[in-house]
């Protein structure tokens, strides 16, 4: 194909010869200019930017600011959409920082739910006692930070009813969890008191299976999947920021959806 940049009728070859030097110069200048803008773009690729400590610090500050924005966007009275029981995925999707074959089942004979922090009655709870609390049920979407989702059906006492029962300070900032698989996590009090925040003991009407958190796990309709610790062994109510497994590695803390 004929080049679009070539004139229809070629100029006299003598003219080209006379100006050959200047034409080369023009092309070189264009190359430098193009190179400069390409260089500017290359600087934005961030390979070196991300490893910079001050940049990392700035990003975490922004994340802390976003946590506050997310808390402001969180409506404590807004319920997440629920679905018919027929849409429940069985079994649920397994996801953890290790493979499902590495799950270590919890032995309930010596399992106790320990309580600490701003709680009036810190007597540890047995599973029987936990199961005797009135149970709520919800069929909700689980959304992972990675982007996938599935519909799950969970039941168990609301965290609110449990916190009220043990005399927790409901004006404290955080509720923190410890688990049998070393996966600490923590949430804000507003979300802890949301009606769709459960201490789930059942999935699809059946006792929780081992890989999904037996005997008790957290399930919230208003936070990303990684905020829902399984195999809970201790609950603490506190005003000191407790962090969490992924949170300490750089994931956002509030993680509201």
């Amino acid at each position: 194909m004929k080049s679009p940049f070539r004139p229809k009728t070629p100029p006299d070859s003598a003219i080209l010869d006379n100006h050959a030097g200047q034409i080369r110069l023009l092309e070189r200048r264009g190359l430098i200019r193009g190179g400069l803008s390409l260089g500017a773009l290359a600087m934005l690729t961030g390979c070196d930017v991300t490893s910079d400590i001050s940049v990392d610090k700035g990003l975490r500050l922004m994340s802390a600011w976003n946590d506050r924005v997310q808390a402001a966007l969180f409506d404590p009275n807004h319920l997440a959409p629920t679905y018919p029981a027929s849409m429940i995925l069985k079994p649920p999707k397994f996801n953890a920082y290790y493979d499902i074959t590495k799950v270590k089942p919890v032995d309930v004979t010596d399992w106790k739910l320990e309580l600490s922090g701003l709680i009036a009655n810190k007597t540890p709870w047995t599973l029987e006692r936990l199961m005797s609390l009135p149970s709520s049920e919800m069929v909700i979407k689980h959304i992972c930070v990675e982007g996938w989702d599935y519909i799950g059906g969970w039941s168990g006492p609301t965290l609110r009813s449990f916190l009220e029962r043990v005399g927790a300070d409901l004006h404290a900032k955080y509720v923190a969890f410890k688990t049998a698989d070393d996966y600490p996590s923590s949430i804000d009090m507003a979300t802890a008191l949301h009606p769709q925040t459960l201490l789930a003991t059942q999935y699809a009407g059946q006792t929780l299976a081992d890989p999904f958190g037996f005997p008790v796990r957290l399930r919230m309709s208003t936070k990303l999947g990684y905020k829902n610790p399984k195999w809970i062994t201790a609950i603490e109510v506190t005003n000191q920021y407790p962090g969490g497994y992924w949170e300490n590695l750089g994931e956002g803390w509030f993680a509201g959806i």
């Binding site: 264009g30 994340s63 509201g256």
Partner: protein
């Protein structure tokens, strides 16, 4: 109006907002590619780590959630400025269908004329309008992907969480497509690039013409 104080093609606020947007867009696109990779939308499509901002998904998310403020606030300032100053209407409207067909035809014949930088051809106008709308759409779908429960009605209206996620991905594709054409043309006609740095030619004042 004298030549000395006539408005330039790209007044200073436009230039500042343009380059702020350029940086923010690149941050959002490249960090978005880092987030995308954990659960792909198009089977087999992955973005190489050299194209991703952030060493893994969590830092990519931190970049994305920091960059979104720059992108959204700068974009809002641009649209408000464009409406109040009349620039958007002056530069981008009207678009006549005949002119559009004519420009496409000329482009296909490689007749790309940039003699007068102050006049945008119909295709240019259309592309700028599309990319501005795509930017607005990215902010909206991005907010919905971020907060699908808080904005559950809007998400349901658009067909659910995964549908909004795909919309957000398509918006990115539109913007990247625009970016490729936009950068290629600005390198091909470098005086346009220079104009976005220096302000470009002064506009002929309309009041002067009888």
């Amino acid at each position: 109006m004298t030549k000395g104080n006539a408005k330039r093609l790209h007044p200073l606020p436009v230039r500042v907002m343009h380059w702020t947007n350029a940086v923010a867009m690149i941050v959002m696109i490249m960090s978005g590619w880092g987030i995308y990779d954990d659960y792909v939308i198009i089977h087999g499509l992955h973005f190489s780590s050299s194209l991703r901002l952030g060493s893994w998904a969590a830092p990519s998310l931190l970049w994305h959630f920091a960059g979104m403020w720059v992108l959204a606030l700068n974009g809002l300032a641009y649209i408000v400025y464009g409406i109040v100053s009349g620039r958007l209407r002056e530069r981008l409207l009207p678009i006549h269908f005949d002119a559009l067909v004519q420009t496409v035809r000329e482009t296909l014949h490689f007749k790309i004329s940039h003699d007068d930088l102050t006049v945008y051809n119909a295709v240019q106008k259309l592309l700028y309008i599309i990319v501005i709308l795509a930017g607005v759409s990215q902010v909206v779908t991005g907010l919905l992907v971020w907060k699908p429960v808080q904005f559950s009605s809007a998400v349901a209206l658009l067909g659910g969480f995964q549908a909004v996620r795909v919309d957000h991905f398509i918006g990115m594709c539109v913007i990247v497509g625009f970016l490729i054409v936009h950068v290629a043309l600005s390198l091909l006609v470098p005086q346009t690039l220079w104009a976005m740095l220096s302000g470009g030619p002064r506009l002929r004042a309309r009041v002067d013409s009888p």
